[in-house]
Amino acid sequence: MHPILKLVAQRLALSTLLLLAASVLIFAGTTILPGDVAQNILGQSATPESLANLRKELGMDQPATTRYFNWLFGALQGDLGTALTNGRDIVDSLGGRLKNTLFLAFWAAVVAVPLAIFLGLLAVRYRERWPDKLISAVTLASISVPEFLIGYVLMYYVGVKLGWAPTVSTIYDSMSLGEKLSAIALPVTVLTMVVLAHMMRMTRAAILNVMQSAYIETAELKGLTSFQVIARHAFPNAIAPVVNVVMLNLAYLVVGVVVVEVVFVYPGMGQYLVDHVAKRDVPVVQACGLIFAAVYIGLNMVADIVSILANPRLRHPK
């Protein structure tokens, strides 16, 4: 077997195991949480009998391991159960939310990743000079300000004062792509500012590291311009560390956007999760946890695989 296939298969197997372990943690974590769903649903006036009946109905009387495996096999078949609070099928209500979250994350990534890499290349080209320092200062400043503050500031100046973009980002299926994009312009801007610095700094550091190599000197002595040297010779060898940090930030865009979603009233996963945590709706929390874990593990696996593929020694063995 080609060594690459073997390595990729290894990564896939490891990721599956990891996801399984994460599912155990999520289930165990939600099970040992204090509070009782039945009590929550029925309220203060519930009798012990009605509580016991409801628990039985919800399957809460079975041992934890049985419940875990029922849940796991259900999840494997695409059935995440029903929400306790409103009795709706979780997959149905989650599907739309997940789509919205991915939509927002995708467009934030489309803006942020190329911009970060370009700024990183630019910072290397003008290292230790004013463009480098300006890029570093601006991106570090934007990552240091809390995202809700950036959100409200943008909302006030860009949305209210200038009127360039809507301040509420609620989107519906009936909207055209253009309308949707216009609606999410502000949250995308905020998210971009949050993830930019990390990726930009890593690109800069990884490329500077490669710039010490002898083959960079060879390229310079071929008469290439600085930017050609960086883009053609340094960047291909800096892909692995850059991809890793890009994937971490993509995962953050999917998993960590709760605040931005709330600020802009965006109907995504984060808001959905927060709502149901407050209501102790355990199946929904479990489902969200599982999806977040899958996204995190999946993206990191992609980063690993890309790093492997970026290595010519592995791609083209002797």
């Binding site: 190599s213 002898a214 083959y215 000197e217 060879t218 390229a219 310079e220 002595l221 071929k222 008469g223 290439l224 311009t225 050609q228 010779h233 291909p236 060898n237 970026a310 010519p312 020694r313 083209h316 002797k318």
Partner: protein
């Protein structure tokens, strides 16, 4: 302005250095060097490390490595003064008119790109050839340089070809844009002697066939004598002597040049073996963990008290692995190590402190073998504490004694490794090994990283110490000249086997086995025409077979 291809006038080069614990300051590397080079001629630049030869070579492309800066003088290429021109014009010069071949092709090729792409990149970038033309020219050069499968080798990645082949690819890279001048910076130094000969011949042929002029930079006078028309000897940034190759080799004027020509003053009369060897390697077969092939096959050799056994071979021959087995770092699969009448435990854990003390080691890279944050005194004092429990005055007295033995003064006791020269560092490592009062010292390529004159000093020191301390050396090296200078007996290794073994006089006398013959005849000799002679002889032999 000038008819010459390259004219360098009063070139001055400086650099900013950052010594530890001091303020950064500017130093001069090259103080006013002048020379000229005609079309199609080869000038050899020779000198020890720090002589400024690479710096001068790169200055012909107006390039300064790291913090190096050209501070004065003038350089003309094809009649144009290049030091005053702007970067854009320089870029047109680099990669078309002047190209560069570096010491380590392995590091100088981008690992992420195919060889062909890199070889033709400069030609395409400068618009000198179309892609098709450039590729055809590259294939032609690959053929000329004797690379296997010249049609397809360009489709490979750098890690997929051998070191010698990659060095030839680098030469093709430099010649592809039809430059007027190529700077060869130690192009064969990193190669084994048997490979060096082929690459050297390929470079020489390519220079002759393309009519390109070259600056050939090396520290090995015997090598430069084979390829250049003229030689310039440099020392500490000054020109020592400049003349035709014939004059420099056969009638050197300056004393320093004479030293370089007649280096290897160390002479050693081989001693006959004694009755009781101090170290015996018996039928050792070994492999590395996690692999399924042996790297050593039935290796047997003996080392006698107060004598030197030279283990010689090319990279990958198993000589360093043999040392790892002897020191216990790699337990053998089969075979035994006897030491001074007893069996040594195969692995390090099973060895007593006494075993460890009696078998010491000196390494190739002295600077990484020492803790940079410890003073010389601490470094040498450590084995005194560890093996003999010495403290205070007694320890200090012994350290000073040892410093005296390695011909360094008391003032070195408080210095840090960074404040020492390469030769001084190696001397401190020798003192550290001696401090344990060992019976055997394994010397692993201890002179390979040093300049010839410095290396010669180290060999002399080792020789003298052997007489005084009666210590035995297991001397691992790829350099046959070193072997001739110091060995009592020799083991020639090839692909994990000892192919020839015995007292020096026997091993170095004919009839030879094929490999030893190849190895011996590949060592560059300091005379004109040696390269052609060897290549001619080999052609005749292979035609005869």
């Amino acid at each position: 302005m000038s008819e010459k291809l390259l004219k360098v006038e009063n070139l001055k080069i400086g650099a900013r250095i950052y010594p530890p614990g001091e303020k950064p300051r500017n130093i001069d590397i090259v103080h006013g060097v002048s020379f000229e080079l005609e079309k199609g001629k080869v000038l050899g630049l020779i000198g020890e490390s720090g002589a400024g030869k690479s710096t001068i070579g790169l200055a012909s492309m107006a390039y300064g490595r790291g913090g190096v800066e050209i501070t004065g003088g003038k350089v003309w290429v094809n009649g144009r003064e290049i030091l005053g021109t702007n970067l854009r014009d320089l870029r047109k010069l680099r990669g078309t008119e002047v190209t560069y071949v570096s010491q380590s092709a392995a590091a100088s090729f981008n690992p992420a790109k195919k060889i062909m792409e890199q070889v033709i990149e400069a030609s395409l970038h400068q618009g000198k050839f179309s892609k098709k033309e450039a590729e055809a020219r590259a294939v032609e050069l690959f053929t000329k340089l004797g690379l296997p499968d010249p049609e397809n080798i360009g489709n490979r990645y750098p890690h997929q070809v051998s070191g010698g082949q990659l060095q030839r690819c680098m030469t093709a890279l430099a010649l592809c844009p039809e430059p007027d001048l190529v700077v060869f910076d130690e192009p064969t130094t990193a190669l084994d002697v048997t490979t060096q000969i082929d690459v050297l011949m390929a470079i020489k042929d390519a220079i002759r066939d393309t009519g390109v002029a070259a600056l050939y930079i090396t520290h090995d006078l015997a090598v430069v004598a084979q390829v250049s028309d003229e030689i310039m000897v440099l020392r500490m940034g000054d020109m020592v002597e400049h003349g035709t190759t014939d004059q420099i080799i056969n009638n050197p004027v300056e004393e320093y040049t004479r030293d370089l020509v007649s280096v290897r003053s160390t002479q050693h009369e081989g001693k006959p073996p004694t009755d009781n060897p101090v170290l015996t390697v018996e039928n050792v077969t070994a492999r590395y963990k996690g692999t399924n092939f042996d790297v050593l096959h039935n290796v047997t050799m003996e080392l006698h008290p107060g004598q030197t056994l030279a283990v010689v071979g090319e990279s990958g021959s198993g000589k360093s692995t043999t040392a790892r087995v002897i020191t216990g770092l790699l337990p053998p699969r089969e075979g035994k190590i006897h030491f001074d009448g007893r069996d040594l435990s195969p692995d390090l854990e099973g060895r007593s402190r006494e075993d460890l003390r009696e078998l010491q080691m000196i390494y190739q890279m002295a600077d990484v073998a020492m803790n940079p944050r410890q003073t010389v005194g601490t470094i040498i004092g450590r084995p005194l504490e560890f093996y003999f429990g010495m403290k205070g005055k007694e320890k200090r007295a012994r350290i000073i004694e040892l410093l005296d033995e390695i011909e360094l003064g008391v003032e070195f006791i408080d210095r840090y490794p960074a404040e020492l020269s390469g030769g001084q560092k190696q001397r401190v490592c020798i003192a550290r090994a001696l401090a344990a009062k060992p019976k055997v010292i394994i010397c692993d390529e201890v002179t390979s990283a040093l300049d010839p004159l410095v290396a010669d000093g180290i060999l002399k020191l080792l020789e003298n110490l052997q007489k005084v301390e009666n210590v035995a050396y297991l001397f691992i090296t790829h350099d046959l000249a070193t072997v001739k200078a110091i060995a009592d007996s020799i083991a020639v290794m090839y692909q994990g086997r000892v192919v020839r073994y015995g007292p020096k006089t026997e091993v170095l006398a004919p009839p030879f086995d094929d490999y030893t013959d190849l190895l011996l005849s590949s060592v560059p000799e300091m005379r004109l025409g040696w390269l052609e002679e060897v290549v001619q002889n080999r052609k005749m032999e292979s035609a005869g077979n």
